[in-house]
Symmetry: C2
Subunit: 339 residues, 2 copies
DNA sequence: ATGAAAGCGCTAACAC
DNA sequence: GTGTTAGCGCTTTCAT
């Protein structure tokens, strides 16, 4: 690997001059500039980013901590985050935690603050906030992505999405279609991070006079399999149900399959609606009605907030929370009029 | 951010000693060790990885270049690669190229050789090998992942999967089920990277006396949508077809949907088989029969090969190609006896 | 327009 | 056991 010094020697100048030429800074003579440029090209010179980061005191990478890149939502978010980061001259390091707090801590310790200039964290619920706060206290900018409760800001800078509203929107859609006997599948534990979506849905339903939802609600996990199982349980016990609200698209797909397994036609016999609008939602059959959440927008906002934190640094204790634009109904083939 | 020097000063020793304490190297007195450790803990010391990488001449990250992390195959591969890398003390930088050669080159230039110690590259077909060879010539170890032609090693170190054999296996499965009127959907251009899977399939079919496959083959892209479209075209023009081979799971899912749209029952009316066994394959309904490819194994082999290249470096021009274990049939619900 | 010098934070080799 | 020294590759004043 060619270094600045090598080029300098061959060009008969000093490293400083070479640096100036390559970065277009300072005044350099036309002829030396030509010479240096030619040499750099010939030797295939590439700056050592570690050295640059060291002297500039500013690493060139951002870290994204996710529980598992294999959950289809994350790649979509990651893609947007990576593009936003690159646009600002940063690289993105992906840190998979597999919901392992130890791993999470290890990543935060090692990557945060030196290798990476700042950290984006998903799934604030799995995370012990202490770990994040400790990292922040050490000087690592941290941004929580996809916070679910805009009305109650977390202890860290964050990007929030109004998931409560998303739940309401889903309810309004089902109500407009005439559904009154509805059930719900929640892709998290009873106190997990999907609870606000469910509350939004449940509150809207309650306002419409539907008050037995709680009896027809199953809590579980954010997977296709869990959705499948929950729906099976729900549908066999309550065949009169005409619509199921699911707190996330992945388990919603499981619900769709469960309906198919039970011989139910969607949406003629049963309507299903999810939340998020992952790519898969429009790719499966029947395509999934859902409440779209601005994933790419959130990713971009998160990167920009992180970067502004990095630059402006201690806005003396201010913990900004930015809210994305509103979730939006995407009505597809999995919802229809109540039978 | 606390530094070694700060701790050293507070502890009344030199940076070297602190370094020794923290890394457990060299001989250090019990009491100073205690003192240093306490200070480090108190100040929340974290080593600057850039500085360490600089002096050790060994970065701590590996880069993974993929065309789009949003294609569900990549996250699965990425997950395995990240775990293998971490096991060896490396971090993984994800580089999305969106099939843009410019971006690819930029990533290789900037990340390879300084920020990252080596580079894993997927989709060797989209990549101009020149760019990779140039990077390698500059001293950046490069490993091609998922090379599709074991019998013809590429110009770079690589991990190969016997996709030709995978195609054969798919053919054998359909033949065993009695299918004679078969069609094929290829998820790449006519000369794209899926061609060897198709050849494997076609050759096995030819050996069984089926020689009109070429007339029932559609080339396209590696997406659900493309598979859907190709199947629609194929099935409306050739209703007598009883089975479709698809060169990848994603378009195979599209074929499944197309069959559903046309009112065909799978597998009673039509059998469909894919290749890869992505997670989605067992999650959709009907579940997809496919030929599983050892994704995680390939990822791990790729990381290990890259690391050995980094250590052993120039095995003087040797361009090792490692072949993963054999693809394997995974018969699910999308294939059945010919009607 | 170019050079000299200092230093980013850390590790390694060797001296004490 | 602990300190000293040097240097990784680069950028940035400040001289010249």
């Amino acid at each position: 690997m060619a270094t600045l010094a090598q080029i300098a020697q061959l060009a008969g100048v000093t490293p400083a001059t070479v640096s100036n030429v390559l970065r277009g800074r300072g005044k350099v003579g036309e002829d030396t500039k030509k010479r240096v440029l030619a040499l750099a090209e010939e030797l295939g010179y590439r700056p050592n980013l570690h050295a640059r980061a060291l002297v500039e005191g500013r690493p060139l990478t951002l870290a994204l901590v996710v529980s598992s890149i294999a959950n289809p939502f994350y790649p979509e978010f990651t893609l947007a985050a990576e593009q936003a980061a690159r646009k600002q001259g940063y690289f993105l390091i992906v840190c998979n935690t597999n919901d392992d707090p130890e791993l999470e801590k290890a990543y935060l310790d090692q990557v945060g603050g030196s290798l990476a200039h700042g950290v984006l964290v998903m799934n604030a619920d799995f995370v012990e906030q202490d770990v994040l706060l400790a990292a922040e206290r050490r000087g690592t900018p941290v941004v929580l992505c996809m916070w679910e409760r805009p009305e109650q800001p977390p202890a860290l800078p964050s990007i929030a999405v109004d998931f409560y509203r998303a739940g309401e929107i889903a309810a309004e859609h089902l109500l407009a279609l005439g559904h009154r006997r509805v059930a719900a599948v929640v892709g998290s534990e009873r106190n997990g991070n999907h609870i606000w979506r469910y509350r939004g849905f449940a509150d809207a339903m309650a306002r419409a006079g539907i008050d037995d939802l709680a009896e027809h609600t199953v809590f579980g996990h954010d997977t296709i399999e869990a959705g499948h199982e929950a729906a099976h349980q729900l549908l066999t016990a309550n065949p009169q149900v005409t619509a199921i609200f699911v707190s996330n698209d992945l388990p919603a797909i499981g619900v769709l399959q469960s309906a198919a397994d039970l011989g139910l036609r969607v949406p003629a016999d049963l309507s299903v609606i999810g939340i998020t609008d992952i790519n898969l939602a429009h790719q499966i059959r029947p395509s999934l009605s859902t409440v779209a959440v601005p994933t790419a927008e959130a990713a971009e906002m998160a990167v920009n907030l992180l970067l502004s934190l990095i630059k402006g640094q201690p806005a003396d204790g201010a913990r900004p929370m930015l809210v994305t634009s509103r979730p939006q109904l995407v009505a597809r083939d999995s919802t229809g009029p109540a039978r």
